[in-house]
């Protein structure tokens, strides 16, 4: 003998299930909203890089990573520090520093840049991006 379940009884059961599942969906929606709005751990904005002054001799260039891309810092004349992106503006190869000529040469298609990053010849359309450099004691701070 089966007991006849009335619509209201069935409804009550279904609403209970709905409540549970609804809570799950609610949580699944609330979590991304919370994470989206919550402040992040990374300071945000401070991506400064420090390079020891001793690494950058006069007339020489030191290559390093800045904002996860190749960059270069050089000292063409004593006390004068310049930080540039080392990514050639033509097709993206990494430029090489020609100590003798005092300029950058891109090995891919011969693009040339001055020590300040200006285009001297070849296919590059724009100068090398430059970054702010500050001398802080014996550390060079870029960015």
């Amino acid at each position: 003998m089966t007991a006849h379940v009335t619509p209201p009884q069935r409804r009550k059961f279904l609403f209970t299930m709905l409540g549970g599942l609804g809570a799950l969906i609610g949580a699944a929606s609330a979590w991304p909203v919370f994470r989206f709005l919550a402040p992040s751990d990374t300071g945000g904005g401070s991506d400064q890089v420090s390079v020891p002054r001793a690494d950058v001799a006069v007339g020489k260039a030191h290559f390093f990573q800045f904002r996860s891309k190749p960059a270069v810092i050089l000292q063409p004349s004593p006390g004068d520090f310049i930080a540039l992106s080392a990514v050639c503006t033509h097709l993206g190869c990494v430029v090489a520093w020609q100590e003798q000529a005092g300029e950058f040469l891109c090995p891919c298609h011969g693009g040339r840049f001055s020590a300040q990053g200006l285009v001297l010849g070849g296919p590059p359309p724009k100068p090398l991006e430059s970054f702010v450099v500050e001398l802080d004691g014996d550390q060079l701070k870029i960015g």
């Binding site: 994470r35 989206f36 919550a38």
Partner: protein, 366 residues
């Protein structure tokens, strides 16, 4: 139940919420033969709400400047936790809204719900459709990708076909001779504030008209009655009908859930569906990518313009059709709503749908 009763009592003695519930929700009776198509209004309403919520979240990080817009969207998608989710909900949600809106309009046409002195409902709905297309158009530019830039260039160019004022109109739309930062500024203002405000007002008007006149019953079954055009106002009651809340509301909720599942399925299983490659390249005013096309819901307009040798004729044809559609309740005045008894209307209905589909497909492949 005691705490709940106490809570309801608190509001009831101040605002009469029980009476409100009895009249507007439980007492709001729908025709017995109401069908699933009647849920589409609620679907569209929820999707619009989703757009507003996700839009607000995106606004927290988006920068409406041509130099920074693309990078800000990249930041949202790559760096902000779940930024990708809100972006996708918003972008793909826009497409799902268009689908739901079109289905809603098609069902209204099929059931002749615009008849029986419901012209204002139809008119407000039609303007909502156009406003939604405007929201889609303005929103499309904001990511400042190659797709954004060039689709907007093509779309605003169309206005140039209008004689005399055409060229000035194009510049007026763009805020300048070409699409640029000034275009982004005005499109952003319209998309975020201007159009949403008007939209909310129109939706309010639309819902007011629906409730004031009463639900138009489906023209099927033995209970069908011809809607007489009375020379005085009458609210169409449905005595002995089913309560909107909770009886029909749960059906609304079910279809909303299915549409949400559909939206999420596209986001997780076919995320590239509405994102061609040019959507990921930053805008370059000097390089037009090949095969730039507007989004699918604009392909009919795009292809129509291409068919007609004269652009102004193409525009004119579209304008004529849209005007006809807007004024439909004033043109189709017959009281008959049963589809089987409206052969002329049904023939045009089917042919026009087929024509739209065909022309859109053609537009896609041309």
């Amino acid at each position: 139940m005691q705490p709940i009763k106490m809570l309801v009592d608190f509001f009831d003695v101040r605002l009469g919420v029980r009476d409100l519930y009895d009249r507007e929700l439980k007492g709001y009776l729908l025709p017995r033969n109401v069908n699933v198509w009647y849920t589409l209004g609620a679907v569209v309403l929820s999707l619009f709400s989703l757009q507003i919520v996700t839009g607000i979240f995106l606004l927290m990080y988006y920068v409406p400047d041509s130099e920074k817009a693309f990078a800000s969207v990249q930041y949202i998608v790559n760096e902000v936790p779940f930024g990708w989710l809100f972006r996708m909900l918003h972008a793909i949600g826009a497409n799902v809204i268009m689908i739901a809106l079109l289905l809603h309009m098609l069902s209204v046409l099929f059931m002749g719900s615009y008849k029986g002195r419901r012209e204002f409902t139809w008119l407000s709905g039609f303007i909502i459709l156009n406003l939604t297309m405007g929201l889609c158009l303005t929103g499309y530019l904001l990511p400042w990708s190659q797709l954004s830039f060039w689709a907007t260039t093509v779309a605003t160019d169309a206005a140039g076909a209008i004689p005399v004022i055409g060229d000035y109109l194009v510049e007026f739309l763009r805020g300048g001779p070409t699409v640029g930062n000034q275009t982004l500024g005005r499109f952003f203002a319209l998309h975020v504030v201007g159009m949403p405000l008007i939209l909310i007002g129109l939706i309010g008007a639309h819902l007011f008209c629906v409730k004031r006149r009463g639900i138009s019953p489906p023209p099927f079954g033995p209970d069908y009655r011809t809607t007489d055009e009375l020379p005085f106002f009458e609210h169409e009651k449905h005595a002995g009908g089913i309560p909107f809340f909770p009886n029909y509301f749960v059906k609304d909720a079910a279809i909303i859930c299915f549409f949400m599942a559909f939206l999420l399925a596209i986001i997780f299983y076919a995320p590239g569906m509405f994102f061609p490659e040019s959507a990921f390249q930053p805008a370059d005013p000097f390089l037009t990518p090949p095969h730039i096309k507007p989004e699918w819901y604009f392909l009919w307009a795009y292809q129509t313009l291409k068919i007609f040798p004269s652009e102004i004729v193409g525009l004119g044809v579209q304008a004529a059709f849209m005007t006809f559609l807007a004024l439909l309740p004033f043109i189709d005045r017959g009281p008959e709503r049963r589809p089987s008894k409206r052969p002329l209307f049904m023939t045009c209905y089917v042919l026009i749908i087929l024509a739209f589909v065909a022309i859109s497909v053609w537009g896609h492949y041309s």
